[in-house]
Amino acid sequence: MTHEILIAGFGGQGILSLGMTLTYAGMIEGKEVSWMPSYGPEMRGGTANCIVIISDNKVSSPILTRFDMVVAMNQPSLEKFESSVKPGGYLLYDSTKIVTPPARADVTTLPVPAGDEAIALGNPRVANMVVLGAILDILEVVPVASVLKALKQVLPERYHAMLPLNEEALRRGTKFSRTPCEAGDSPM
């Protein structure tokens, strides 16, 4: 089994650390993994994305153009990468940051109100963990327990007081993915 995922959004939304946490969890599970960041002249407020591959087999190309799942955490990313989802794949997005929802009928669209959920939890910065929770529930790529272990490694120690909040955000995220819009439905 191979999962090929693209995660995209604004710089500062925790896109790269989301991907890194997922990748680390894959390694803990004994999978073959790769994490490929976009590393252009990116800055806070600019765009950022990373490609995460988690597989039972050796990962060949770490850079791809078609994905099993695209995760978009802002409107520009959705517009840029909507066409990169393989037919039958998943397009998961933070619905609180999307004005124009995706139009493709041949993929499953998954609106997750990650921004709102994170604010409800008291910290908008954990929106990426809400999204990660949703990813885990849909793809069943790695168990939540491994992700929590990974989070401890990825999050710098000075932020370890934030671990319980991240865990809560992760668990909240798992609720939303179970009500996907089927292919062709309007997500709004």
């Binding site: 390694m27 993994v33 790769s34 994490w35 590393y39 990962v59 190309s61 770490p62 850079i63 791809l64």
Partner: protein, 364 residues
């Protein structure tokens, strides 16, 4: 093997340098390899390494010259424009026959270019980027694991042949994260005597001179001949390559580094479609796996070279194939990475093309 870690290619390479017993790192920051200097600045000195940010790349390579001359394991790293600045020093080091490690995390060029991945420095790396007749041993990693492993191998090769070794990576390999384990490697066990090192003439030791100036033509040619003999020995002994699905291949792809990873995927996609594609990945770019390519060229219908440049390694592949079968080239430039689908399209064209059509394209 040690503990499994998830690391960036640049960090894995830097960690390997410390474990390989590198005593001196001299460098100047440039994207996409600044993590090497950053990592070594933090972790090198407490573990016995001198880490110095020089005032320029020209200074860096000459500091490597000095440290290597004193017999220490020494290295520098940079990216394309910075490596260009080092070429004079590299030529001197090659002439003085000093072992050291140079790392080029290739970015798009020419000029200051772009910070995105590229393989545009193949010619510079393999044909002697500086002046005079010299060769570097060039190793091309294609994974984070190899970014680490080739540091150990590189230092050993450099010591064995008294020759600078270049690790030619690219921006993506430097920035991406993969699993890596570090081998059990005791630098003391790999330490060899360096009876030429200028490490002090106290206690009545004989005077030793390291120089790249040989003003008498007869002396210079003598050195040239000795270097050529050494390079020929390296050609005999140190060719490294990997084969993927090559045994029954009709179409053989030749690609190195990141391009080889992309080509590997394209081979898998082609096989799913019933096309017998295979891959030869040169690991050592000098010495080049000429014989292996020549042997395979006798069994395949066509060869495809995939590179992130305007067509550089393809020249060496054509020399190896010697016209036995058509050789096609596909690549992207400017920091654009070819996609497996693009490579697949070319494979499909080659598979469907009558022999004459493919042959014509060789000469375009």
């Amino acid at each position: 093997m040690g503990e499994l870690q998830l690391m960036k290619g640049n960090e894995a390479l830097a960690e390997a340098a410390i474990r390989a017993g590198c005593k001196g790192y001299f460098g100047y920051p440039i994207t996409p390899q600044s993590e090497i200097l950053e990592y070594l600045s933090e972790h090198g000195p407490p573990r016995g390494m001198t880490v110095l940010q020089a005032e320029s790349e020209v200074a860096s390579i000459n500091m490597v010259y000095g440290a290597a001359g004193a017999g220490a394991r020494a290295m520098t790293s940079s990216s394309s424009p910075g490596i260009s600045l080092m070429q004079e020093g590299l030529s001197y080091i090659a002439c003085a026959e000093l072992p050291c490690l140079i790392v080029n995390v290739n970015r798009g060029g020419p000029g200051l270019g772009t910070i995105q991945p590229s393989q545009g420095d193949y010619f510079q790396s393999t044909k002697g980027g500086g002046h005079g007749d010299y060769r570097l041993i060039v190793l091309a990693p294609s994974s984070v694991q190899e970014m680490a492993s080739f540091v150990f191998e590189g230092f050993d090769l450099a010591d064995r042949y008294r020759n600078p070794v270049l690790i030619l990576a690219d921006g993506a390999l430097g920035q991406m994260m993969e699993k890596v384990t570090f081998p059990a490697y005791d630098p003391e066990e790999h330490r060899i005597l360096k009876p030429w090192a200028t490490d002090g003439a106290r206690d009545g030791k004989e005077r030793r001179i390291i120089t790249s100036l040989h003003i008498q033509p007869e002396k210079m040619e003598e050195l040239n001949l000795r270097l050529e003999a050494k390079y020929n020995l390296i050609r005999e002994q140190e060719v490294r390559f990997e084969l993927v699905e090559a045994a029954d291949a009709d179409i053989l792809i030749v690609a190195y580094g990141l391009s080889a990873r992309i080509a590997h995927r394209a081979v898998d996609l082609a096989r799913e479609r019933g096309i017998n594609a295979g891959l030869l990945r040169p690991i050592s770019l000098f010495p080049f796996p000429t014989e292996a390519i020549r042997a395979l060229a006798e069994r395949v219908r066509g060869v495809l070279v995939v590179e992130m440049n305007a067509g550089q390694m393809v020249e060496d592949v054509r020399l190896a194939v010697e016209g036995a079968v058509p050789v096609r080239w596909f690549g992207r430039m400017g920091g654009i990475v070819p996609s497996p689908d693009e490579v697949l399209q070319v494979i499909e064209q080659m598979d469907g093309a009558p022999q004459e059509t493919v042959a014509e394209e060789v000469y375009q």
